[in-house]
Symmetry: C2
Subunit: 238 residues, 2 copies
């Protein structure tokens, strides 16, 4: 029996090269959209609504009574209530609420994947690594690991997460994909020095200046918010 | 004094994200266009004319009396004289002649770089690794290491060459680029097992079926054709 195929997409710009139809697409935006989504839902958020623009975010926030949140270039956007840090969404604050989230890269890739005809879209980051892996193995469908990147530029942290997934599930898939081989290699050499390694990334240098070191360390820690956000009719829910 | 910047571009699709103007762009197509270009010029070819289409290749071959060559999907194109193997161009055959070459990925990226306003375009592969590095250091300008990829998909062999260049010249450049950090890491872990490593690449599986193992091993061997092809008025020359 042929195993399903797994591919890694290193930038939203490259998504349409791959056959996304009939595939489960994992949206990866480690710093920090998909880490925040997992955390908010793990802490009891009713749903997370990912939106592309600030205007949509404000409008949908009004319509749903939800909390509006989002950042551009690492800063809370004027007109929105909160930012894109997992630490902003503890259970005491977010339980039972709707979070309307707009981010620079992750929400954009999610909507691109839907437009390309993905059969299912889920979100992944280290805080929900195991939940993502278990789901992909149990579904047994083709998989696209979609790195959100930074303004279409390849980034290391998303590739490392793709590599972490591949390390765990590669026996269940056919992998003829150099991006996946690279991601697995990169994770292999850095899995034991993640916290020091991420200090080398360009994203670290952009964000750490805002004092977010703890945030970024959380975002590369496995299984601290181990649920699976699945996109259904406009919402990310467990 | 600020050092010039170095960036690595992992696919032609991503080239226009970067500021190519005022930069030296290194076109990398390890399997096998830029390995063949270095070899033909090293063996005395008067020039190599890189062209995008088969029709152009035939026409320019007629106009110049040159040898027409090119492959699609690893096979010699009907209507052209020769293929894209470095082994086809020994000194006894190519010396003093014009080679008109069309390939799937490399020549396309070269013309994209020119259209984006590159100040200089050179070609690189392992057979001319040292010549490329020496040139980039002596110029002291911004550098784009441009991977030709495979039909816009990231490939390992081009990234490994970018990594090999970075390993040698990184002290002379400012590198805030995750693609470059990745390429350098990948080269670092595989530099001593290149010949076994390339057997894992998707490109190997595509080409090795045509019996080209020796070719591919040549293409990852440093400095066997150590000259620098520079693009001037339509020609690649030393």
């Amino acid at each position: 029996m042929t195993k399903p195929a797994l591919h890694t997409v290193l930038s939203p710009r490259l998504l349409d090269i791959y056959d996304v139809t009939n595939s489960v697409v994992v949206i990866i935006d480690v710093f920090r959209a998909t880490s925040t989504i997992a955390t908010a839902l793990y802490n009891g958020a009713a749903r997370v609504i990912p939106v592309d623009t600030v205007e949509q975010c404000i409008q949908i926030g009004k319509d749903t009574g939800g909390i509006t949140a989002g950042e551009r270039d690492g800063k809370v956007i004027e007109g929105l209530d909160y930012g894109n840090s997992p630490a902003e969404y503890p259970r005491t604050f977010i339980e039972g609420k709707t979070l309307v989230l707009t981010t620079t890269n992750g929400t954009r890739l999610l909507h691109m994947a839907l437009n390309c005809g993905a059969s299912e879209v889920v979100t992944g980051s280290f805080p929900n690594l195991s939940a993502v892996c278990d789901h992909l193995v149990s579904k047994g469908k083709n998989v696209i690991l979609g790195c959100s990147a930074w303004k279409d530029r390849f980034n290391l942290e998303d590739a490392l997460f793709a590599g972490a997934v591949i390390h765990r599930i590669q026996d269940h898939f056919t992998i003829h994909c150099d991006s996946s081989l690279m991601a697995a290699d990169m994770y292999g050499i850095h899995k034991n020095d993640m916290r020091s390694f991420i200090r080398r990334t360009t994203h670290w240098h952009r964000l750490a200046s805002y004092g977010l070191e703890k945030d970024l360390e959380y975002c590369v820690s496995p299984d601290l918010a181990n649920i699976l956000p699945i996109y259904k009719n406009g919402d990310l829910v467990i």
